[in-house]
């Protein structure tokens, strides 16, 4: 059987079930608000959002692979490209771009111009340290973890903090090859 061609982000987005963007945005807002009430510390909320994102990511990756038909990426550049062009489109309905590659190709920025999560959000003064969209960085980290890439994902720019764009830095820490239960020298 010939391999099935990978589908474009738009094609998948048109086919998956969608919910009202406002409902989604408001639900996410309610979650963040509740976390702030429960945990009180902004730093803790950042951590919790990242962890929640991670837990989503490790499950989401399979859906992404199943529905997009993308095959194994040859290098990290291709991986980030797929995340930005197909992944963001499929799950958030927006496209991102990849820039700021470092010399050895292990660190880059994913730039989002549009982000449905923040449609109605203004950060109050007592929450200035909050990374409101920290769940997204967790999702990316979790998803890449499942395809044997250890990464570190951090926000460099955030519209809510007065920047002009959203910029996520994705840094490849190491490639964990699939492990076999036996080693040659053991």
């Amino acid at each position: 059987m010939p391999p099935v061609a990978p589908r474009s982000g738009d094609a998948i987005f048109a086919n998956v079930e969608r919910v009202n963007a406002e409902l989604f945005t408001l639900t996410y807002g309610a979650i963040v608000r509740q976390l702030l009430t429960d945990l009180e510390e902004v730093e803790e909320v950042n951590k919790q959002l990242d962890q929640m994102g991670y837990n989503i990511g490790i499950r989401l990756i399979d859906e992404f692979l199943a529905k997009s038909n993308v095959s194994r990426c040859n290098d990290f550049k291709e991986t980030t490209d797929v995340i930005a062009k197909v992944g963001f489109k499929m799950f958030l309905g927006v496209t991102a771009s990849v820039t700021n590659w470092d010399a050895d190709g292990t660190c880059c920025s994913i730039v989002l111009e549009d982000n449905p999560l923040v449609d109605f959000v203004e950060l109050p003064d007592n929450c200035q340290g909050l990374y409101y969209c920290n769940i997204l960085s967790g999702v990316i980290r979790g998803a890449l973890d499942m395809v044997s890439m250890k990464t570190e994902v951090t926000w460099l720019r955030d519209v809510l903090r007065g920047d002009d764009l959203f910029e996520l830095q994705v840094k490849l820490l190491k490639h964990v090859p699939e492990e076999y239960p036996y080693k040659d020298d053991e």
């Binding site: 499950r59 399979d62 199943a66």
Partner: protein, 200 residues
């Protein structure tokens, strides 16, 4: 009367032979060889009820059973269809872990790098189609020899798995699947006319 399955002996002989050659050329440890030998022996010893044709439940070609194994080789889902090839829990667990090891060894045996493991095992009484997702979960189906479109079926099962298992907040990753919605949708998918898979 159960009798041992005849899994392409020629292929298995070649597997063992290759293992020896690799051992001689120092590319493979003695442990791996032992692994191959154990699998070789095990395959001869387990038996399934072998009555081809009686499992024809779904029109075109019969599916005997479906397995899902997690990335560490544990069986997380097993379902059989019809009377042929029905196994008890122990046997199905054994088949799953055997297949996991066979799959891993086949990747190591490949002379060129980047081998993704066995996709199809053909025997005179059954075919075994395997699909491994990039995250390491393996789906495999044991069916009548020559059954068509099994790749599409497995791909579809993968989609069902992402929809009804992974999205279930009460499902714990890597654990046995006990999701009713998954069962229902899987049964429908398998029973539905194969046209669904042809068109995909």
């Amino acid at each position: 009367m159960p009798r041992p399955v005849r899994i392409s002996f020629r292929a298995l002989n070649r597997l063992v032979w290759t293992a020896f050659v690799l051992l001689l050329s120092n590319q493979m440890s003695i442990w791996m060889l032992i692994c191959v030998l154990i699998i070789y022996c095990q395959l001869f010893s387990f038996s399934v009820h072998d009555n081809v044709g009686s499992g024809k439940v779904f029109g075109m070609a019969a599916i005997y059973s479906l397995y899902i194994i997690n990335k560490s080789g544990g069986l997380i889902y097993y379902k059989d269809y019809g009377s042929a090839g029905r196994m008890d829990t122990n046997d199905s667990l054994r088949v799953a872990s055997l297949w996991h090891s066979m799959h891993a060894i086949s990747q190591q045996l490949s002379p060129v790098s980047g081998c993704l493991g066995i996709e199809l095992l053909q025997a005179d009484t059954f075919d075994l189609h395997c699909f491994q997702s990039l995250t390491g979960t393996k789906f495999f189906v044991v069916c009548e020899p020559g059954a068509q479109h099994m790749e599409n079926l497995l791909k579809f099962v993968y989609e069902l798995y992402t929809d009804y298992v992974l999205k279930n907040p009460f499902y714990e990753m890597e654990m046995p699947i006990r999701c009713e919605l998954f069962d229902i949708n899987l049964t429908q998918a398998v029973q539905k006319d194969r046209v669904v898979f042809l068109g995909r």
